[in-house]
């Protein structure tokens, strides 16, 4: 058997092995996917919190106590935020249900439908009572949304389990991060040591700079949304829970493409809840020209402006450069991630592609310079 033939057989052998590997992964994936997802989340949280733990450790000289301190501060902040948010929203809902029963809501939507129909050009106004139809549909929709909240309880239980596991994994990773990293580095053979080390650092750098960029981008969206909502309130929008809405908009913004639209939903709901029965808010005109009941168009416009500033000025400066991917490629991987794993896929698509890119660059370098190793 000559050399070319042997190479050919080796190639076929590798392809078969690869296919068997893929088949096996497909087989076990349903059993391990949740754990892998938890580990990925734990790794991302670890990357975010690592510098705080390291700084704390430098001050007190003990890793485990530093992790404990940072985790307590983090849990305290999350609990305060959630507790205060839930109490505020329940107060809001209580006040809303006291003020508005189903009949009021129907009549309110009916008058809104009439106003909207009258604002339309005459040829678009239907002879049949479109306002009645609109009022019934809107009422059904609102009741449906409120009713489906009950089914959320089951999902919350599952979410709590995943959250607790991610929390435990994060604590372990934070506590042993440097030991794990050292163990990984120690496992690299001497021949590939410096190249392997460079690869690990580049992957780490790519993920942490992406996360830092996303975090700053989310913070800027939150601040801009809060400012925008306060400006709208100045003109009489009567939107409460402004800080919470801003923070939710910032967090939702982490999911590319879909997130920004999800972010504006709470503001629209709160505006609707607060302004039902308020004639001035129902008759509000956007820039004095277009009917914008409950300031809905104003809110959408404000969020669109925030998105434009974030998308065109802040994100390219903070996130785009950090991963170094072409915008076209970002769009393609977002679509692939979204198709495969939904919103989670979209969340991880860009950093995962960044990591794959770093690995490919190093592998290409290794193939080219193998004689120097």
């Amino acid at each position: 058997m000559n050399h070319t033939q042997s190479n050919y057989i080796q190639q076929i052998y590798r392809i078969i092995l690869f296919l068997i590997g893929l088949w096996f992964l497909n087989l076990v994936w349903p059993f391990i996917s949740d754990v892998i997802l938890m580990l990925i989340f734990a790794f991302l949280f670890t990357t975010l919190l690592l510098s705080s733990v390291d700084a704390f450790e430098r001050k007190i000289g003990n890793r485990n106590l530093s992790v404990l301190g940072v985790v307590i501060i983090l849990l305290g902040s999350i609990t305060t935020f959630l507790g205060s948010f839930i109490s505020q929203i329940s107060l809001q809902a209580q006040e809303f249900s006291q003020r508005v029963d189903q009949d009021t809501m129907t009549s309110e939507f009916k008058s809104l439908g009439e106003k909207l129909t009258s604002a339309l050009p005459s040829f678009m106004q239907n002879e049949q009572s479109s306002s009645d139809y609109l009022a019934t549909k809107l009422t059904e929709l609102t009741q449906g949304v409120l009713g489906s909240l009950g089914s959320l309880v089951g999902t919350v239980g599952n979410f709590m389990f995943i959250a607790v596991m991610v929390f435990i994994f994060t604590i372990i990773l934070l506590s042993e991060y440097h030991s794990f990293k050292k163990a990984l580095v120690n496992s690299i053979p001497n021949k590939y040591f410096e190249v392997g080390l460079k690869l690990i650092y580049n992957v780490e750098k790519s993920v942490s700079s992406y996360l830092r960029g996303q975090f700053l981008s989310a913070a800027s969206v939150a601040v801009m949304s809060i400012t925008g909502l306060l400006i709208l309130n100045f003109f009489g929008a009567n939107i409460t829970l402004v800080i919470f809405i801003g923070i939710i908009a910032g967090l939702a913004n982490l999911i590319p493409l879909v997130g920004p639209f999800v972010g504006m939903v709470p503001a629209l709901i709160i505006a609707l809840m607060n302004n039902i029965g308020n004639d001035a808010a129902t008759a509000h005109m956007f820039f004095g020209a277009i009917p914008s009941p409950f300031f809905a168009l104003d809110i959408i416009f404000m969020f669109l402006v925030v998105q434009q500033i974030e998308g065109n000025l802040i994100t390219p400066a903070l996130v785009g450069k950090s991963v170094g991917l072409h915008p076209m490629l970002v769009m393609i991987v977002l679509l692939i991630g979204g198709t495969l794993l939904g919103p989670l896929g979209m969340l991880f698509a860009v950093p995962a592609t960044g990591v794959i890119k770093v690995i490919l660059v190093e592998v290409a370098f290794l193939r080219k310079n193998s004689h120097l190793l």
């Binding site: 485990n64 040591f193 410096e194 080390l197 460079k198 310079n369 120097l372």
Partner: protein, 167 residues
């Protein structure tokens, strides 16, 4: 008997000096550092073992950082073929090499080969950059010491050059 849990919680407060810290204290790059600085530095160090005759790095290979000899000895050479190999230096315990790679992206300018079984400590550019970000005071101290050593070497080279020219 001490509880294992408590030992685990307070393991960071054990003050026994490790071999790594003992070696680092002898290296001039790390002079004037406190005990806390050394314990932080220890975490950044990568310990590697090489058998006699192993290449630590090759000439023209991309360099990521410097090595400190904890045990054994190494030689720095140019050319690898027998007869053409030119040994520039032989270094032993407590000495360091490859420090130029901390400052530039240039490839290695010589080979480093283990003369006998040796254990080295590696300090690499990304770690130094992270240290500079997280603990600038310690980062500056190390950079300043490295600068001083490189300046000293440059002065010696200048002195040799002047001596050669005046012959």
């Amino acid at each position: 008997m001490k509880s294992a849990k408590w030992e685990n919680i307070f393991k960071g407060w054990d003050n026994k000096e490790s071999e790594t810290v003992h070696t680092l204290k002898k290296v001039p790059v790390f002079k004037n550092l406190s005990e806390r600085d050394f314990s932080e530095l220890e975490k950044m160090m990568h310990q590697r073992s090489y058998a006699s005759g192993d290449f630590i790095f090759k000439n023209k290979a991309p360099g990521e950082g410097m090595y400190i000899i904890m045990r054994g000895s190494i030689k720095i050479t140019i050319g690898t073929n027998e007869g053409s190999e030119n040994t520039l230096a032989e270094l032993g315990k407590g000495e360091f090499f490859g420090e130029l790679a901390l400052f530039d992206d240039e490839p290695r300018s010589a080979n480093a080969i283990a003369l006998d079984d040796c254990v080295l400590l590696g300090l690499f550019t990304p770690d130094l950059m992270i240290l500079q970000e997280r603990n600038p005071v310690l980062g500056h101290k190390i950079m300043f010491n490295l600068g001083g050593l490189l300046g000293e070497r440059l002065r010696k080279t200048n002195h040799l050059l002047i001596k050669e020219q005046s012959k």
